[in-house]
Amino acid sequence: MSFFEIENLSLSFGGVKAVDDASFAMEKGEVFTIVGPNGAGKSTIFNMISSFYAPSHGTIRFKGADITAARADEIARIGIARTFQNIELFEHSTVLQNLLIGREIHNHVPVLRQLIFDPGMRRAELAHRRKVEDVIDFLELAHYRDERIANLPYGVRKKIELGRALCVEPELLLLDEPASGLNPEETEDMGFWIDDIKNDLGISVLMIEHDMSLVNEVSDRVMALNNGRVIAEGSAQEVQNHPDVVAAYLGGAA
């Protein structure tokens, strides 16, 4: 039994086969990367894991349990958090609020007590706050704590979205193009953080990324996708030199 696996996953939009019979398995503690040209179906796989789309065929398994039919809001409780390719933050709230929203699944105080805000509620809130502060320290976000997202530059938003997913304290983290839009320096930082997330926080990472320097640096294993199909799997080097992958990136039919 693998830590996380998808089996024969398929989904079409209209006539387009976005994902076509894709399978892979990853182990606990791994950084597993999906690469592939634009429109290959990478994000669609993430959206099926998140239960935003229901696959037309196939299964998704996490720690042995079939989670294919789980509701979208159950996925975080199961232990899987994610970021989005196009940054989906809560724009009109502050950084702190965004991170605290990441604590949702760890909140167990009933609504009536939230309304009254009794001392127990306050204690629970301060405990969340302490956790959030750990993440703020980890990602060096202290400077932006009380800023509204709408006022922040792109690179910082990217970090905050990563931080928000970390506040969930997941076992598996899905990162959809963590380095897109970042400058080389920020990309390097992202690489260090992904390493730390794996080694220090013990969180397994499933990542989609185009930036090959980052892929080479952090990935334990890499899989290439083209037209919804898996065309290669192995180490970063093996996948990059695979003839089908080279052909796919040159625009030829794989």
Partner: protein, 358 residues
């Protein structure tokens, strides 16, 4: 400029962020509590009306400003609160029980509406809320045995523990205390997980879901809370106008409530309160204007809704953060003078959002 040094996480949880807050809000509180001493009956009544609007607006703010579900039917919750309360009073139920029951009834109706409505979004929800308001208005007209139908219904003065409240200033305090309690409850929600879930649902449903927030549940709770507050305002309004008739709670009132929170500043408690004061002022201005204008224009029946609509549109286009947003900018300007940067509140860059969830 005030630089806040935070030494304790409690500082972010507390209502008052620093001692300046404590001072100014204490001053404000003293002013509203002492107002009846300085004002005559007419102005006390006007102020009471504004406070009741503020309470109704606070209710609408929960669902529209915090949760992002635009309702054009909130006058219906005021109607439900007002009629339930007035009816219970005629049945001999004492004021202190009748008012909470009225709020709860309104809340339960809100809950029942929200369960199907939580699956709708945007314009569909707004239209559904409008339809709901029309149904409630019809119900009020036709359920004569309870509501008096088109003949209307007289509301007796409230009695607290056998003591009848006749004086304007006495009722002012009843309304004021209930408003302050309601504000405190809403502020508690805002610093709690439920309030944050509301903001999350408003700003991005998919990322709310991916963090484990139950979107439908959040919307339903928002409607429940919202309908209770607006229903409570309805019950208080019943005594204030002393006579209920179906047209009191028409679409105009719904628009007025929406106008209030947009003009005041969407998404903040301040916005609801500011908005109520501005609408109170606007109503007074319109009545003066009506006398000044030539009768052909001044007596046009569409004048008020037309003006309200126009102001609503202008604010949405030119000042989407409302008067409170403008005030925050002004205050920042003063605090940081002469270092204010013109672009402090400009968004750094905007990013195109595509339809697909990439």
């Amino acid at each position: 400029m005030r630089v806040l040094f935070k030494t304790d996480y409690n500082q972010d949880v507390k209502f008052a962020k620093h001692s300046g807050y404590v001072f100014w809000y204490a001053l404000l509180l003293a002013a509203v509590f002492l107002a009846p001493v300085a004002l005559d009956t007419y102005w006390i009544n006007e102020l009471t009306r504004v406070l009741i609007y503020a309470l109704a607006g606070l209710g609408l703010m929960v669902v529209t400003g915090f949760t992002g579900q635009v309702s054009l039917g909130h006058a219906a919750f005021m109607a439900i609160g007002a009629y339930t309360h007035a009816f219970l009073l005629t049945q001999g139920v004492p004021f202190i029980f009748s008012l909470p029951i009225a709020a709860l009834t309104s809340g339960i109706v809100g809950l029942m509406i929200a369960i199907p409505a939580s699956r709708m979004t945007g314009l569909y929800l707004t239209i559904a809320s409008l339809a709901f308001a029309i149904v409630v208005e019809d119900l009020v007209i036709h359920w004569e045995s309870v509501t008096g139908g088109n003949r209307g219904m007289v509301v007796d003065p409230p009695a607290l523990f056998g003591y009848e409240i006749f004086e304007a200033w006495e009722y002012y305090y009843v309304v004021l205390v209930l408003l302050i309690i309601s504000i405190a409850l809403v502020l508690n929600i805002l610093r709690s997980p439920l309030g944050r879930s509301m903001l999350a649902v408003r700003d991005s449903e998919i990322s709310a879901q991916s963090l484990g927030i139950r979107v439908a549940r959040t919307k339903v709770l928002a409607f429940l809370l919202s309908a209770m507050l607006t229903g409570l305002a309805g019950g208080l309004f019943a005594h204030f106008i002393q006579f209920l008739s179906p047209e009191t709670f028409g679409i105009l009132l719904s628009i007025q409530l929406l106008l209030m929170i947009v003009v005041g500043g969407l998404g903040t408690v301040h916005g609801a309160i500011f908005g109520a004061f501005l609408i109170g002022l606007l109503e007074a201005l319109i009545s003066i204007l009506k006398d000044l204008l030539p009768p052909a224009i001044g007596t046009q029946p569409g004048l008020e809704p037309g003006l309200f609509g126009l102001i609503l549109v202008l604010f949405i286009i030119f000042e989407p953060e409302g008067v409170y947003g403008r005030w925050v900018k002004f205050r920042t300007f003063l605090e940081s003078f002469p270092f204010y940067r013109r672009n402090t509140f400009k968004r750094q860059r905007s990013y195109l959002k595509t339809e697909r969830m990439r």
